[in-house]
């Protein structure tokens, strides 16, 4: 039986060593005086024995030298302590109310007295009332990661710096006026987002989805932080998915404002060697094609050892994983956690196109990739993923498969589209691939090893937001220099031609040297 299966949980105080009962103490109980409220080990032992015999469950792991925690039915508490228990409600976090059995909070009824035969042994007991969970902190905890694990990174800084998005932000390009749609498990309003002033449009429910404010999994909330790490001023629209992925894409395309970019950290491991596309995935194939034909940039994760579809669809930007071996931010390797494969459905299609940042596989009681500390709904499934951040309800989790890499690339696309909104999905993909940093080592989960130049392991390599931005702007510069005097004047007067400051040139030289 688990702890939450006991109808009532209470805290019992055996006879204190000092002259005053724990419940009668008038002075503050601190580390200076708590010893007098501790109990003799024999009294603790006898109290536990008596309570067990009465039918209570004693939570050994939750008991101390001062108190004993017990669980049981309301009927048992009534019979043993004579307690008057009623059903009560409390809001433990915004929009979450739970019911529990408890005594009145009135002091005369709150303290439950032991039966006469145990009065000398047990001072009394109080019902354990559920606490209110405070909103998760906007700044992540410092986690003691498993001994086998590598250093992890924070959002937005770690991702922004290694992908060189931070350098683009310093030029004033931050994804302004670009709407990124994210199809995922929902979005919880974590303080991480509000404290940084990130712009979140209201969550839309896709067919079969419910409760827009809830992200019990944590995946959507956590991965969305990667978008903002690269494009802090974009507007993010979460589309909470139900069972129907095609309906989710159509919901996104019908939204107002319509997203220019869709980021998808999910897929079906279906494009396996020797297979052909099943009929049930053709509506999804058509939905992706339809989105791209409307000019929407669609990004999909390649998978974590999966043969991910739609990650293999020819129209999408297929995102794989590269791991950075900190502290050297230029020490890059293909992630052993990420997918890479030749599509069986689309001849010549290689997955991925390029990569974002992921962890690499490390055995910490099961293969994990704990490279990023991401915000999640407190007590969500991913709040408890290994390795622990110190608590399973602190609203933070360590995870970073290609689900993290995909929204990073979507964020970089937002920077490019802010700079040049006329770019087509194919042009965005082409410029991203041309500007990526080559990755020359490391082996993916499928066994493909990165080498010089484009390869199956990482595609064109790790995305470089700064170079992608320069590449985007570079075409403007090329148009300017090849244009007539009139065209050049028109470009300058319309603001299409950027000004090159000394600082910009200096930054470009620095960028070139570090590639």
């Amino acid at each position: 039986m688990s702890n939450n299966e006991y109808e009532v949980v209470a805290t019992v105080s055996p006879r204190s060593l000092g002259p005053i009962s724990l419940f009668d103490a008038e002075e503050a109980i601190t580390s200076d005086n708590v010893q007098q409220f501790n109990s003799d080990p024999s009294d603790i032992r006898d109290s536990k024995r008596a309570l067990s015999r009465a039918g209570f469950h004693v939570f050994e792991e939750a008991s101390s030298d001062t108190t004993i925690s017990i669980g049981g039915t309301a009927k048992l508490f009534k019979e043993f302590f004579g307690a008057k228990l009623t059903k009560q409600k409390t809001e433990i976090r915004p929009d979450t109310t739970i019911e529990f059995m408890a005594t009145s909070e009135d002091p005369s009824e709150a303290l439950m007295n032991a039966p006469d035969e145990f009065k000398q042994l047990i001072e009394g007991a109080v019902i354990a009332r559920p606490p209110t969970y405070f909103a998760p902190h906007p700044i992540p905890p410092l986690a003691s990661v498993h001994a086998n694990a590598y250093p992890y990174m924070m959002v937005p800084d770690g991702v922004g710096v290694v992908l060189r998005a931070s350098r683009v932000h310093r030029l004033g390009v931050t994804g302004k006026n670009v709407v990124v749609g994210m199809l995922d498990t929902g979005h919880y309003r974590h303080a991480f987002f509000s404290s940084r002033g990130y712009r979140l449009l209201s969550t839309l429910l896709a067919p079969g989805a419910s409760d827009p404010a809830d992200d019990a999994n944590g995946h959507g909330t956590g991965e969305s932080a990667n978008v903002f790490a690269c494009a802090p001023d974009c507007r993010l629209r979460m589309i909470k998915m139900g069972n129907d992925t095609v309906g989710a894409i159509n919901t996104a395309l019908n939204a107002n404002p319509k997203p220019q970019i869709l980021t998808n950290s999910w897929g079906y491991s279906a494009d396996t060697p020797g297979s052909s596309i099943p009929n049930w995935l053709k509506p999804l194939e058509a939905a992706v094609a339809n989105a791209v034909s409307q000019g929407v940039v669609v990004c999909f994760s390649a998978g974590n050892g999966h043969y991910g579809f739609p990650g293999s669809h020819p129209d999408v930007i297929s995102v794989g994983g590269v791991h950075v071996n900190l502290p050297d931010e230029n020490d890059l390797e293909a992630s052993s956690y990420a997918s890479s494969f030749n599509s069986s459905w689309y001849p010549g299609r290689q997955v991925p196109d390029l990569c974002g940042l992921t962890g690499k596989s490390v055995n910490i009681g099961g293969a994990k990739a704990p490279s990023l500390m991401l915000p999640v709904q407190a007590s969500a499934s991913l709040d408890g993923i290994a390795p622990s951040t110190g608590s399973n309800s602190d609203g933070w989790g360590l995870f970073s498969g290609t689900s993290a890499a995909c929204p990073q690339i979507a964020g970089i696309c937002a920077l490019m589209l802010e700079k040049d909104p006329t770019l087509t999905p194919a042009e965005v993909k082409d410029k991203l691939k041309k500007s990526a940093r080559d990755v020359k080592k490391g082996t993916t989960q499928m066994g493909h090893t990165a080498t010089n130049g484009p390869d199956l392991a990482t595609g064109s390599g790790l995305a470089d937001a700064k170079w992608a931005y320069i590449n985007t702007m570079g075409d403007v510069a090329a148009t300017f220099f090849s244009g007539t005097k009139e065209q050049q004047l028109a470009m300058v007067s319309s603001g299409a031609m950027p000004e090159f400051s000394k600082e910009f040139i200096s930054d470009m030289i620095d960028t070139l040297r570090s590639r």
């Binding site: 129907d244 309906g247 053709k282 094609a289 290609t402």
Partner: protein
């Protein structure tokens, strides 16, 4: 026991005037080819009305399919569709199509939930 009132989303694959649909495509469906399979807006509108008349909520379309919502029991009754299969990781398909919908419905599909890649 399955909750018969639980709401699910499904894709209604639409037929073109010649009776074919994306399910018959022998080429990949991409941005370059999808236009060939897109139905006229008027036809999609008629299909939308017909599905609403059958008791489904139409929540979107992409020109080749319609996204509809309905209860497990209603999908089973109208299309003989076992939504539970999708929860078990297998796509569910229509096993029957009402006579008055046969001219425009090629199939009704409920996909299984996708994998997340955390």
């Amino acid at each position: 026991m399955a909750n018969e009132t639980e709401i699910f989303g499904a894709q209604v694959v639409l037929k073109q005037s010649d009776g074919s649909s994306i399910l018959d495509a022998t080429e990949s469906l991409t941005a370059a080819t999808i236009e060939r399979y897109r139905l006229p807006a008027e036809t999609v509108g008629e299909a939308r009305k017909a599905l609403e008349a059958l008791g489904f909520r139409v929540v979107g379309d992409d020109g080749t399919t319609l996204s509809v919502e309905g209860s497990r029991a209603h999908f089973a009754e109208v299309f003989g569709l076992e939504v539970g299969a999708a929860q078990a990781g297998v796509a569910a398909h229509a096993t029957k199509i009402p006579e008055d919908a046969q001219s425009f419905v090629a199939d009704v599909i409920v996909p299984p939930k996708p994998s997340l890649f955390p």
